[in-house]
Point group: C2
Chain length 442, copies 2
């Protein structure tokens, strides 16, 4: 019997746990689920005979090391800044380690030691990062094997809500809501276009969003991700002329969001007291009321539409010219905006989330330019096995199986950008309903 230890039993753990338990008998596994909340861990394992659920404070070194010592492989779904704690234990005690998070510099620095011990520390094994790497590398390898030369790679991914439960803003919170409000504020988007490094600053990110067509699904909008350049070497695409990664939204979202950005409502520095402040007062502390005009007319003038215009309506229907009270006593503009968005954009139990991923790889072959495209659309099954939970959890779960079977020969601190891992994982994901549609033009 082999023991898999899962650290963290939160939202995105559900499908991962189900996969591990479903395979426990045939693979001869026991599965230990540890979470700060023992109740949550128990709720997720539901008394399965192969499972044990334990309460664990990750700072409790003795308890943590006891659990890791009994494991053959550890999957960490902890907050990213905590991964190094179990990783160091795994290195010390000779255990394999998987996360769905970006490989940190601290983690990468362990590579030689991990490799020397014959261990695998596999990071970026979720959706984004994760499935994006698996599928991109399959595309790159195919093009190269045919003798093609990649010239442009564009990768788009969005966590959305399925159109059947969509709202007028075309968005609901299916994932960390504050990250949505702060999107783009970490630094200027950096990417490669036509052979030159390009920069797009936050104040232009949404106003200069791109329109992109997903086959069978129609047009979406996409705003650039912060860092695209570091992926070029990860995908072995040095010398490519155009390379970027972007976030997908339904049409109309970026123009709408840009109005909130221009107003200053996404700023996350300045503390504001909202005592006695209505949602209308909040908006009009950032926007001037024009002399002799109503709040509606003043807002319409700022947006550049008539008072019954589309974006004006979206702002009005958030309550932004209303006398409704604000739900929090103080906060940054971003925190207050989030409190206003949350009830309107709440992901309900009868909603289904939707993951959309699209890659376009342009290449030259025998003097002609062609485009290989992959797209994947995954709809959530229910409030537990959401598309996010499935696409984040299943790659890590399948990787755990491959590692414990000894089918991954590469060692050290790695990400899933090589055939030995992308091939079996993509094939199994397809069987589980998470598959790409391949297309080629030119």
């Amino acid at each position: 019997m082999k023991n898999i230890l899962l650290l963290g039993a939160g939202r995105s753990a559900s499908t991962l746990i189900q996969y591990l338990l479903d395979h426990a008998a045939t693979e001869e596994w026991t599965v230990t689920v540890a979470d700060a909340s023992a109740e949550l861990a128990a709720a997720k394992t539901q008394g399965h005979p192969a499972a044990s659920a334990v309460g664990l404070s990750i700072q409790d070194e003795e308890a943590r090391k006891a659990l890791i010592g009994k494991a053959d492989l550890v999957v960490s779904l902890l907050p990213p800044h905590m991964h190094m704690i179990p990783a160091m234990d795994c290195l010390e005690m000779g255990k394999h380690f998987i996360t769905a998070s970006y490989e940190s510099k601290e983690m990468a620095a362990l590579h030689a030691e991990v490799e020397a011990k014959g261990l695998i520390f596999l990071n970026e094994m979720g959706l984004d990062p994760g499935i994006d790497h698996l599928s991109a590398m399959e595309m790159v390898d195919e093009v190269r094997s045919r003798g093609g030369e990649p010239v442009a790679f564009r990768s788009y991914c969005g966590a959305l809500v399925a159109p059947d439960s969509n709202n007028e803003w075309g968005y609901k919170f299916t994932w960390a809501p504050m990250n949505v409000v702060l999107a783009g504020q970490g630094g200027t988007a950096t990417y490669l276009q036509d052979g030159r490094t390009r920069y797009q600053v936050y104040q232009r990110l949404f106003s200069e969003a791109e329109t992109v067509e997903v086959p069978d699904w129609g047009k979406f909008e996409a705003y650039k991700n912060r860092d695209s350049l570091s992926y070029i070497s990860k995908y072995g695409l040095e010398g490519i002329k155009t390379f970027y990664r972007a976030t997908l939204r339904f049409r109309g979202y970026c123009r709408f969001w840009n109005h909130l950005l221009r107003l200053g409502l996404t700023e996350n520095v300045t503390k504001i007291s909202t005592e006695g402040m209505t949602k209308g007062d909040f908006l009009f502390s950032f926007l001037e009321e024009l002399p002799g005009k109503s709040r509606l007319e003043s807002l319409a003038a700022f947006v550049g539409e008539t008072p019954n215009g589309d974006n004006v309506s979206k702002l009005v229907n958030l309550g932004l010219i209303s006398d409704e009270p604000i739900d929090i006593a103080s906060g940054t503009p971003a925190e207050i905006l989030l409190s206003i968005l949350e009830p309107k954009w709440k992901f309900e139990d009868d909603d289904h989330d939707l993951i959309v991923m699209l890659h376009q790889l342009d290449f030259t072959l025998k003097g002609r330019t062609k485009r290989l495209s992959y797209h994947m659309v995954v709809k959530g099954k229910d409030p537990v096995h959401t598309a996010v939970s499935r696409t984040v959890g299943l790659p890590a779960a399948i990787a755990a199986k491959l590692i414990l079977r000894g089918e991954i020969t590469r060692k050290g601190v790695i990400i899933p950008n090589f055939r030995e891992i992308y091939d079996p994982v993509l094939r199994e994901l397809e069987e589980l309903g998470i598959g790409f549609v391949r297309g080629e033009q030119g």
Copy 2:
């Protein structure tokens, strides 16, 4: 004999030192100037019989305490984050203490102890903060003494270059250049207008600059300072309807600067390698070159002018469509922009700087609304006794004299917002050529 110890002999110390030495004989002072560079300290005291110049590392506790122990009053022109080091010594050894910097929370926390020892720790005794407080309080006290009720206070200050040595951008670096590039990025400007707290986010700060007229000098532009609200209680103006502080620039500056801001060139987070990059490449890594258009035409389209438009010319004349190399190997957009601005906006030895300050105090008196205004324009004398050096140094120097004469009865950690200090200091500043012109309307 009383001994004054000055910590820091940099640019803004010159006029302060000259004042202290000019008054040393009549006031019976000796003056010790201590700086990390003993040469700089000696250059500033020039062998004056009342002066001694010493090299001092502020972290050298023994040397520092020996100097402070021999002093009756310490003036600190150290970088603001260092003031607490000599302040703690002054508290321990019972010495008065003066700075031209904002009163920090740590400093304010010493108030009871300083007061109990009968000491004066006077902060914000320079230009801005400093002369702004002195003059504002004189205006407020006058209005109140006449029975008037303040309804609006607007305060403007700018460190500019005199029109006779002005350039086409209407600006030269007479003060910390990086602060000019990063202006407005600390957080959303917060102020009071018509009884309501108002917020203006960075991306709107320069595009919504105000035009303001300075009597005899014509129209200027002004962008809001970050924090205006905390001054309301400092000036005893609780209940006022409109209150803000703003930074003055010559006309055209804010519109021009807004183009740099919109482009993303003032962003100070993202590290960019500029290897082999020309100034034109730098601009056009942030701006798209329109198909079939020249760089000049693409820039003009972004600015919304013809290619020979005013703002296009200002950008072109910075070298931003040229093949000139960039002087630094890497940096944030803001750092690279600064390297491009510095040679063009260099303050030369034959330039004169210009301090412009304007206050408008609107008040009601016997049912009528009136406006009391104060304005002050100070031109630098020479490269050493600049307007900045004079307006920052002289208030602190005069305050040192008043304190050593025992003419300030208020004790503790204080700022100069009371009559006992503003009256004699403003009168002496007038004699030294730093005077306000008073006006009244309505």
